[in-house]
């Protein structure tokens, strides 16, 4: 409870700050806030842990009642938008990062800087990983705090590695090494050499962004005014993926099948978010030796992993509810909150203290080596860039359709496919 006490005290100190009149320092009257949450929309650990968090929070804040609204992740923006239009009360929302731009620009998510007293905000940000904080920022303003987020890691089946004569202690670190290992696996076993979560509508473009960026490419430029996925560096990365596919190393299965193949021990390597770790561990238990390493890079270039998952954004208009939502946000992104999220759901903590301090998860982390590559990547993590404007979904979908076609299609003209799609998506930018 310590951080909350500290921040509450700090909030008290900064009462006179500019935004203080818009948000009361504490909640005196009972208030109910809604929390649009996608973990609640599935049965299992995520929902249980979320309910646990809500219970703890309500116990600590008797005046605040939290109403969880379960919405599946792919529907969350639609639903928030519909509810805002319908005049429903929307307070705290678990926004997937791809929709962050839309949430901020169109739906009216508040930048924390606008509603939270500056000192209180600064105090709360203390101890948070800087790269992690950047995930929820657009143009330097914080619209969301990374909540359930994770990084891409390369899972591998050490048993298969041993079986085909590869060294499980030295997993591939670059795409060239992946290709090399993939060929060995392809030639000496029936297993899928490389599965991934790069393609498929529910995958979105997040993992692809990281892969292209690792070759110093990208899908869109820094100020989000021009599409760049057909530029030479990106093109080269896509061409590399095509070569892997042509060699029969990278397969084109739907996202779920790839996950299940890995879980069942039928895939040797699997590039995917660390969020699926729990599911893989359950599949591997008593079945095979599951391990993980960091995301592969291109040659000597340092890999530039990005994040998947969601951040929390505040939509409340009423000051008291803004305060209540902010309190909830602070609580779930506190050391206690992240402890539960990391341990029970399997996402990453935004606070290193959680994994370093024995008070929290230090001991637990040492028992869970799979978390290591994840933690390692936290220091050089880069944000998943949301596509801008009202057509953000269409841009990403068109782009990913083209890249999938370029990697797995019958047409060898990778540059042609990508350039055409780039021109097309360029027209959809605001």
């Amino acid at each position: 409870m310590k951080p909350i006490v500290v921040s509450a005290a700090l909030a008290g100190l900064t009462l006179g700050a500019a935004q203080a009149q818009t948000m009361p320092a504490e909640i005196t009257e009972p208030v109910t806030i809604t929390w649009y949450n996608y973990n609640l929309a599935s049965a299992g650990n995520g929902a249980d842990a979320t309910r646990h968090l809500i219970d703890l929070f309500e116990a600590a804040h008797p005046n605040i009642h939290v109403e969880g609204v379960p919405v599946p992740p792919q529907n969350i923006t639609t639903r928030v938008q519909a509810d805002l239009v319908a005049g429903q009360q929307v307070d705290l929302v678990q926004v997937t990062f791809n929709a962050l731009g839309f949430a901020a620009e169109a739906l009216g998510a508040h930048a924390l800087e606008d509603i939270v007293p500056a000192a209180e905000l600064a105090a709360n940000f203390e101890g948070m990983v800087q790269n992690g904080l950047d995930l929820g920022r657009i143009d330097g303003r914080t619209y969301a705090l990374a909540y359930t987020f994770s990084t891409p890691v390369l899972y591998y089946n050490a048993d298969i590695f041993r079986q085909v004569g590869l060294d499980p202690e030295n997993p591939p670190q670059t795409w060239a090494q992946i290709a090399e290992a993939g060929r060995v696996i392809r030639d000496h076993s029936d297993h899928i050499p490389l599965a991934s979560g790069m393609f498929g509508p529910s995958a979105g473009d997040w993992l692809m962004q990281g892969v292209l960026r690792s070759n110093n490419g990208g899908v869109i430029n820094a100020d989000r005014t021009a599409m760049t996925f057909a530029d030479p560096a990106s093109l080269e990365a896509v061409q590399m993926l095509r070569d892997l596919a042509q060699e029969g190393i990278l397969v084109n299965l739907d996202v779920t099948s790839q996950l299940e193949s890995m879980a069942a021990g039928n895939a040797a390597m699997y590039l995917q978010t660390s969020a699926v770790q729990g599911y893989l561990i359950r599949g591997a238990e008593g079945n095979y030796d599951l391990r993980a390493t960091t995301m592969p890079g291109f040659g000597d270039l340092r890999p530039r992993p990005n994040n998947s998952g969601s951040g929390l954004a505040i939509f409340s208009q009423d000051p008291a509810r803004q305060r209540a939502a902010w309190e909830l946000m602070k609580f779930v992104t506190s050391n206690e909150g992240y402890t539960i999220i990391t341990r029970d759901i399997g996402y990453l903590p935004l606070r290193m203290a959680v994994v370093e301090s024995p008070e929290y998860l230090a001991g637990w982390v040492s028992e869970h080596p799979l978390l290591q590559p994840n933690l390692q990547q936290l220091s050089y993590l880069e944000p998943w860039t949301p596509m801008p404007g009202p057509n953000y979904v269409q841009i990403a979908t068109t782009m990913m359709d083209a890249i999938e076609m370029a990697v797995f299609g019958d047409n060898d003209d990778v540059a042609g496919i990508l350039t055409a799609a780039q021109t097309q998506t360029q027209g959809l930018l605001p």
Partner: protein, 309 residues
């Protein structure tokens, strides 16, 4: 104005005439009101919105963009692929949802009551399974590594078949599942139609020297043609919607867009995100497109089955 002066003299008469005039409308009012409120009013609004760019938020700007939404949709690279796939779905669905049930209906008609009912009851079972469940179970059974179907293929010495991830197969797999679900319904409709054929026509044909096959060809099929046409019509108009759940759960339109039909594509680009312009234009395209097809089909149906009624 003359009502007051006329009412005393012609009152009852006038009322009963008014009553008679209004009565039919009163009977259909509940249904029509439902459709106007819940379907046609939104549709009309969608028509207007399809020429605008807006996200419904009262605070957001609302911009007239003319035909831009339509142009964007028609320019989608997947549009023509999806159109072609829609045709392929229909091509695959018609045998499963019409031909096979037709054969079953005709075959079972001549069986003893008990066997006939058993077969028909079993074939109807998929109809009652929720689509989400049907999709999940089939995905489970067709899994390349852990599915029972590939287990069987493996046991027979074959290589695992990637039913849902092979671009050449996925569409047919979805078609199969859609058809599997529909088969029972079509069988019942056709069986009902078949059972209502006047038995003496069949007897007359037997006396005239027709073999079983000739009876089917010359008597049953022509007399079943209205029911067959109705089913064909339903498959063409609604097939794309019926496959939707399975595409959504099983392949999300992939791999390489090979299972994307027009309905799913427009959903993905229009309704998947709440961009009102795209979704409204999509809706208008779907509605107008399918209405035109429906008009064409009804015209054809009237022309073809003129002698049956």
């Amino acid at each position: 104005m003359s009502l007051a002066s006329v009412a005393p003299r012609h009152g009852p008469n006038r009322w009963s005439r008014l009553n008679r005039l209004v009565r039919p409308y009163l009977y259909i009012l509940p249904a029509i009101a439902t459709f106007v409120i819940w379907i046609y009013e939104p549709l009309a609004r969608a028509f207007v919105l399809s020429f605008q760019q807006w996200n419904l938020m009262p605070t957001a700007p609302r911009r007239w963009v003319g035909l831009e939404n339509y142009e964007n949709i028609l320019a989608l690279p997947r549009f023509w692929q999806a159109l072609e796939n829609t045709g392929l779905y229909l091509l695959g669905l018609l045998p499963m949802a019409v031909l096979l049930p037709l054969a079953i209906a005709i075959f079972t008609q001549d069986l003893s009551g008990r066997t006939r009912n058993l077969y028909r009851a079993l074939i109807f079972v998929p109809m009652i399974v929720p689509p989400v469940v049907a999709a999940a179970v089939w995905r489970w059974m067709l899994d390349p590594h852990n599915g029972i179907v590939n287990g069987a293929i493996g046991a027979l010495g074959g290589d695992p078949v990637r039913f849902l991830s092979d671009p050449h197969l996925a569409l047919w797999t979805i078609t199969f599942i859609t058809g599997w679900k529909l088969m029972g319904f079509s069988t019942l409709v056709l069986s009902a139609a078949n059972a209502s054929i006047d038995g003496s026509l069949i007897e007359a044909a037997r006396l005239d020297g027709a073999s079983t096959w000739e009876i089917v060809r010359d008597i049953r099929l022509p007399l079943l043609s209205p029911a067959i046409l109705l089913l064909v019509l339903m498959v063409i108009l609604l097939g794309a919607q019926w496959s939707f759940s399975y595409i959504h759960v099983l392949t999300e339109g992939g791999p390489l867009g090979s299972t994307t039909n027009i309905y799913y594509l427009l959903w993905q680009f229009g309704f998947g995100s709440l961009s009102v312009g795209w979704s409204s234009a999509s809706a208008v395209i779907l509605f107008v497109g399918f209405s035109l097809i429906a008009a064409l089909l009804f015209w054809l149906k009237a022309k073809l089955s003129f002698h049956d009624d």
